[in-house]
């Protein structure tokens, strides 16, 4: 079971961090970051399989690939932003963490602009007096 090994890894890393923090808080922070990155790398292989299935589904149903690409990019940005913000928050810098999250939200909105404009154009086309004023 991989889940058990992940939980065991987290528990062991937590105990080690508690031991190291007594003497050197810097090393405790780096150890926490390393553990987070390690677990993320462990999981990302599975995410790849899920995304392959999603791509296959999108190809079969004829959804334009730009939509799927945009959604995947948004998911990637969300993962990275959340990850960085949590590591920074662990180190006690709450304000920098919230700025990272803010930047992530802005970039997600920028990525979503093409989709939003397509939706707005569709809605305008549906309106009775849409084309001819």
């Amino acid at each position: 079971m991989e889940m058990i090994s992940i939980v065991g890894l987290g528990l062991i890393a937590t105990v080690l961090i508690l031991v190291v923090r007594e003497q050197k808080p810097m090393f405790a922070f780096l150890l926490a970051a390393f553990t987070g990155i390690f677990i993320f790398l462990y999981v990302i292989g599975r995410i790849e399989a899920i995304i392959t299935v999603l791509e296959d589904l999108a190809n079969r149903s004829g959804v334009p690939s730009i939509y799927l690409k945009t959604i995947l990019k948004i998911i990637g940005i969300a993962y990275i932003a959340e990850f960085g913000a949590q590591i920074v928050r662990d180190a006690g810098q709450e304000s920098i963490a919230s700025k990272i999250e803010f930047a992530g939200k802005v970039f997600i909105l920028v990525m979503a602009i093409p989709i939003i404009s397509v939706i707005i154009e569709t809605v305008i086309g549906l309106l009775p007096a849409g084309g001819q004023p």
Partner: protein, 63 residues
């Protein structure tokens, strides 16, 4: 997996060396030992971080 134990071990040993050197009265040596250990661990973390970012780029961002 073993890298986590490596980092924790480096931290504990550096703390030990630091206190020993402090007892011997070599304050500046103790600080240098701390800085060098920190750089080594930082290098490990940054290398893994770059690997993670590369993976995320190839999987999510299609580059």
């Amino acid at each position: 997996m073993s890298a986590i134990f490596q980092i924790a071990g480096i931290g504990i040993i550096i703390a030990m060396i630091h206190s020993v050197l402090k007892q011997m009265g070599k304050e500046d040596m103790a600080h240098w030992v701390t800085v060098i250990g920190f750089v080594v661990v930082l290098f490990m973390v940054v290398r893994l971080l770059s690997e993670l970012f590369q993976e995320i780029k190839t999987i999510f961002l299609f580059q």
